[in-house]
């Protein structure tokens, strides 16, 4: 593992294979283009975003009320509700339910939260086989990797690589890279898993307070295969997933799939409001740092996120540095927003140009660029700036605040740029000169030009 490496180091490694960067960049940009077309097809799109933002803010502002209402209505529906303050508690609760039913094999679907809690290794350590059943998730699970994207988790792998992996693990013919045939092989393999599983676990897209139901949106129907086959079904959700009503779910569901992949809606959008006959349904409600995030007014807005992944697809940095450069389970802009404090290298808030595209693409108007900038300020206040910045920023501050010193330095720089051969200056110009030609320096500053050409005239006035 290269856990200690900062984002820039990891991105530099990713960038070495320019063909792969171009391919990754294009694959994700295609999703952004599909999203643009889907959003444009809804005339009231911007009003929906505003509504989505307001209803999430409203719920967050009255979170305890809606969580309690959700719990009460779930219980009335016969659903067992559990509360977990952190990842460890979540994993213990999940294990205790599974142990009680002597579960040997668990099929899982759609949950970044269980990734966040590192549930799989925990359950495996306790003798439970865990099978991720979303195709992308299954691919990376077989490849022993975490997701590199929250909606398309295996987006970093080319079809030929998936073919090689399936040949090794699922015994598909060598050299097979046709997506349809690979998907069929995966489907056959997954059917066996569903039929032999003792329990199913899914994430939750929305938890509806007034009817006590959870909503799970998938394109492959695998969450439903899981939830409907074995007797025992578990659903894990962050406290931020609760919303007031089915009506509010409709608002968010109109945007979720459109903003993620450009589909009008996910192929399967299932509402679970009770166990199947003779079965048991459990919901685990997890905090794991979310109430801390809510203490900071700016960071709190990150909890409006509905995990469509639109910000990842539009992010020019994510597309060119890959999901594994972010040092957190969730990459991209939203990953920085909710993961910055978990990044030991303190570098991910700087993996961003503050271009703001993510904030405009977001269906619930999470002000991602403002949150990321705020994280930088928090890091500076806590004196946890990445190494380079802490060494040069105070100097830059001093230099810039003194016009004399700054003019003097820039004057010398201009002379150097004009007089010295660029091959001599380049090594001193850092990353700028490594990748770009140095600027053509003008003879003088505007200041000087103005004094020579204009100042007298304005003084006369």
């Amino acid at each position: 593992m290269t856990q200690s490496k900062n984002h820039a180091d990891k991105a530099t490694i990713f960038c070495r294979d320019e063909n792969r960067v171009d391919w990754h960049n294009k694959a994700l940009w295609t999703l952004r283009e599909k999203r643009d077309r889907a959003a444009a097809s809804v005339p009231e799109w911007e009003d929906l975003r505003q509504l989505g933002s307001e209803l999430k803010l409203h719920t967050l502002a009255n979170l305890s009320h809606y969580l309690v209402e959700f719990e009460k209505n779930c219980q009335a529906n016969g659903i067992h509700v559990h509360w977990a303050k952190d990842a460890a508690e979540h994993n213990q609760i999940a294990l205790s339910i599974l142990a009680k039913h002597q579960v040997k094999k668990l099929v899982k679907s759609k949950s970044m939260l269980t990734e966040e809690c590192h549930l799989n290794p925990y359950l495996e350590k306790h003798g439970i086989e865990v099978i991720d059943t979303d195709l992308g998730e299954r691919i990376i699970q077989l490849n022993n990797q975490p997701p590199s994207h929250i909606v398309v988790p295996a987006i970093h792998m080319k079809k030929e690589e998936v073919g090689d992996l399936f040949h090794e693990k699922l015994h598909t013919p060598k050299g097979e890279s046709d997506p349809t045939r690979l998907t069929r092989a995966a489907r056959a393999h997954l059917r066996e898993q569903f039929l032999s599983a003792d329990a199913a676990m899914t994430g939750v897209n929305m938890a509806i307070a007034d009817i006590g139901a959870v909503v799970v949106c998938t394109n492959e129907g695998n969450a439903d295969m899981g939830a409907n086959l074995p007797k025992l079904q578990l659903h894990s959700m962050g406290i931020d997933k609760v919303i007031p009503s089915a009506d509010s779910a409709m608002v968010l569901m109109r945007m979720l799939a459109r903003n993620a992949t450009g589909q009008p809606s996910t192929t399967y959008s299932s509402f679970y409001k009770g166990a199947k006959p003779g079965g048991e349904m459990h919901v685990i409600i997890v905090d794991n740092g979310r109430s801390d995030i809510m203490q900071d007014k700016i960071l709190a807005e990150s909890l409006k996120c509905i995990r469509c992944g639109g910000c990842l697809n539009t992010c020019p940095v994510y597309r060119r540095s890959g999901g594994y450069s972010y040092n957190y389970t969730i990459p991209g802009p939203i990953g920085i927003a909710v993961g910055a404090k978990h990044d030991e290298t303190n570098s991910i808030p700087w993996a961003c140009t503050l271009c703001g595209s993510c904030s405009y693409v977001c269906p619930t108007k999470v002000p991602l660029d403002k949150i990321i900038a705020h994280h930088r300020r928090l890091k500076a206040q806590q004196r946890t700036l990445p190494f380079g910045k802490s060494s040069y920023m105070p100097l830059v501050g001093k230099l810039m605040s003194s016009p004399t010193a700054f003019n003097c330095a820039m004057g010398s720089a201009r002379i150097a740029l004009r007089v010295l051969p660029h091959s001599l200056i380049k090594p001193f110009s850092g990353a700028w000169g490594k990748y770009r030609e140095l600027p053509v320096a003008p003879k003088s500053s505007f200041d000087t030009w103005y004094k020579q050409n204009k100042a007298n005239k304005s003084e006369a006035k």
Binding site: H7, W29, W350, G356, S357, A380, M400, M410, K454
Partner: protein, 247 residues
């Protein structure tokens, strides 16, 4: 109208031609233009890095250069610096004098579109220009509708340039994707910044335009470095230079 020029440090030091063109075009439009002394950096490199303590002195020096200056507008030919100045002035000084300065701040395109439209241009500009819709001007100053937005569409940059006879305005593929400059991002995240710049420069060149025209000098400086490194057949120009040449 009496206008005070706000010339950010980068323009002052590295792109004086942009400042000269701004001054010249405003004078051609009949405005009285002054250049208050003592201007320095807006503090953006520091605040964007989270270092607000380090930014304070710089920002306040710039703000003081404008306090009490008699003028109706303060115009800046650099969108990103203008946005940063506005935000930083607010952050560090909430006095009525500061508010007076903040209320007069305009980016050049914004000023020419909202406050003092150009009645007519004198000379044609018979070239194709590929517009560089830089992020801060676009998404923080609302100079045009960002491509992510589905609401009412508008484009102040095009509206200002459209009056020039012969000009052919085009856009690169992914019309407003960030060019990758991002201030200190260009240095801290060199590899990604360079790849973004390379892609953007190529997208502009692929339009077969003669010029990349933008309202943010820092993005243009970065793109210029990428264009020359790749020997692309396109040149960067600031919008002030195009307008000044046509007046």
């Amino acid at each position: 109208m009496k206008i005070a020029l706000f010339i950010p440090c980068l323009v002052n030091q590295m792109m004086p031609d942009v400042a000269i063109a701004t001054l010249s075009l405003l004078e051609k439009l009949g405005h009285e233009v002054i250049f208050p002394e003592g201007q320095t950096c807006c503090g953006q490199p520091m605040t964007n890095s989270g270092c607000f303590d380090e930014a304070k002195n710089t920002t306040l020096k710039l703000l003081n250069a404008f306090k009490g200056v008699e003028c109706e507008a303060i115009v800046c030919p650099a969108a990103s610096c203008l946005v940063a100045a506005k935000e930083n002035f607010h952050e560090f000084d909430d006095s009525p004098e500061a508010k007076e300065v903040i209320d007069k701040l305009y980016e050049l395109t914004e000023f020419l579109h909202d406050i003092s439209p150009i009645p007519r241009f004198k000379y044609p500009f018979n070239h194709t220009v590929s517009l560089q819709m830089s992020c801060h001007g676009l998404r923080m100053l609302s100079l045009a509708t960002p491509s992510e937005s589905m609401g009412q569409q508008f484009n102040k940059v095009e509206a200002v340039l459209q009056g020039i006879e012969g000009i052919n305005i085009v856009y690169p593929d992914r019309r407003d994707e960030c060019c990758g400059f991002g201030g200190t991002f260009a240095v801290d995240e060199g590899a990604v910044s360079a790849k973004m710049g390379k892609d953007k420069a190529q997208a502009h060149a692929a339009t077969n335009a003669q010029y990349v025209v933008g309202f943010d000098p820092s993005c243009l400086l970065h793109l210029d470095g990428m264009i020359r490194r790749q020997l692309l057949l396109i040149q960067t120009r600031h919008i002030a230079q195009i307008i000044d040449a046509a007046l």
